[in-house]
Subunit: 236 residues, 2 copies
DNA sequence: AAGTGGTCTAGACCACTTG
DNA sequence: AAGTGGTCTAGACCACTTG
């Protein structure tokens, strides 16, 4: 019930994504024009246009006036440029990972969360708090809000055994993510988990993750600045 | 001649940017609605809407259905996925950039620098220290060591007029870069340049840049955590 | 109830690329 | 000349927030 009607431009976007994902439309293939899509999907040209426009902004398509719309060249991305399971990262460094589940509950969404997760204010959202250790030192606090509509069984997991990243990857595979990286001071509770004092600068990543069905989660990852850093290698 | 006609939505965007830049519209101020702008500029609502929409995507505005459009909280953001000229980034946000050249000298390389830049210990390396301002607030301190073999005229520049990034792009175009991102506390000198106290967490990026001929520079970019963040948008 | 943003339509004219 | 994308209009209905 109260199922939100899917917008027409979203239906067209999904269709195009599928054609590219499935390999039916290869790199540099010509994509149907605005007019053709408008007729195919029985929508106005402006609506077809919006689908093509948004996919272009996401880098999936390339458009040239007069020439047409084409599937973009896929870019290979490097390490800060991918979302990895922290357990794998730590094991790849030859260190031991373990995790402690601090919290796993349903909470009411406030205004900001509602917007970020595409839910309504007052609805429930699942919340997990997991502390990750590298060789028995706390290295990262992972606070995560999860969309219950897309991951209904989230509260039945035990995140000392499997990381939220692993579980979510199996339930709602990642299709898109945004990161925001900041330097912050942690609050008292976070400090006590990470065994740092309140003046230690921390690296904080706010990550929103999407699956094909919508926003899956908002993760707030906090790590002591002196023990954790992010890296990337770009080739032009 | 061949002057391209400025699109109407661009005129509206520019107008809104100016109001925010000039400080007439402060953070969280309400921005005129689509209907009001449409009437003011004698355009259709769809055109006014486009201006607001694009500024929202750029992070300058925040919109809530039913409530209105508001000036976003001011926080600078750089992309982690590309290396951009900070002057361009700031201007794209509709803000003003200027720079102050603090230092521009030749120094001896120590052991670590020698390895990082591919030079021999005791050789000369060029060093610049430039403070970047966004709307007259110091936003980033750029300390940069430059390989004199690849960029011999570095010391003859004036980095109040051109950013090191711009100059290096013209002399030794970027082919590769690595970033390391950390949260740190800045030293006293850096704090005094950035007008922060010694407990403010800072975001620090250490970036090595390559051209086709080898390592060009090592840049240490330090910015106050409360004014600057890094972002990325990944699509899988 | 009034205002706001979100989506959508069925047209229009234009600049540009392609055959 | 025909097709394509870029901009724009003047409407419409809807969901949502605010007073």
């Amino acid at each position: 019930m109260t199922q939100v009607k899917t917008a027409k431009f979203t239906i067209i976007k999904d269709h195009i994504c599928k054609m590219i994902e499935s390999g039916e439309w290869l790199q540099h293939s010509k994509v149907p024009s605005e007019n053709v899509l408008a007729e195919q999907f029985s929508v106005s040209r402006m609506t077809a246009r919006r689908a093509l426009q948004e996919l272009t902004e996401q880098g999936l398509l390339v458009r040239t006036q007069g020439a047409g719309t084409f599937v973009a060249t896929f870019k290979s991305q490097s390490s800060l440029l991918e979302i990895r399971n922290i357990a794998d990262e730590i094991q790849d460094r030859g260190h031991q990972h373990h995790a402690q589940q601090i919290e796993l509950i349903a909470v009411d969404v406030n205004h900001e969360l509602a917007i970020l997760l595409g839910l309504k204010e007052g609805e429930n959202v699942y919340y997990s708090e997991v502390l990750h250790f590298e060789n028995n030192e706390p290295i990262q606090l992972e606070q995560r809000y999860v969309n219950p509509k897309l991951v209904p069984d989230y509260l039945q997991q035990n995140f000392a055994d499997i990381t939220p990243h692993e579980y979510l990857s199996s339930e709602a595979p990642l299709t898109e993510a945004t990161n925001e990286v900041e330097a912050v001071l942690a609050n008292h509770e976070t400090c006590s988990h990470l065994l740092i004092d309140s003046t230690t600068p921390c690296l904080q990543v706010k990550r929103r993750t999407w699956s094909s069905k919508g926003v899956v989660s908002l993760a707030i990852l906090t790590a002591p600045g002196d023990k954790y850093r992010l890296g990337s290698h770009l080739v032009f």
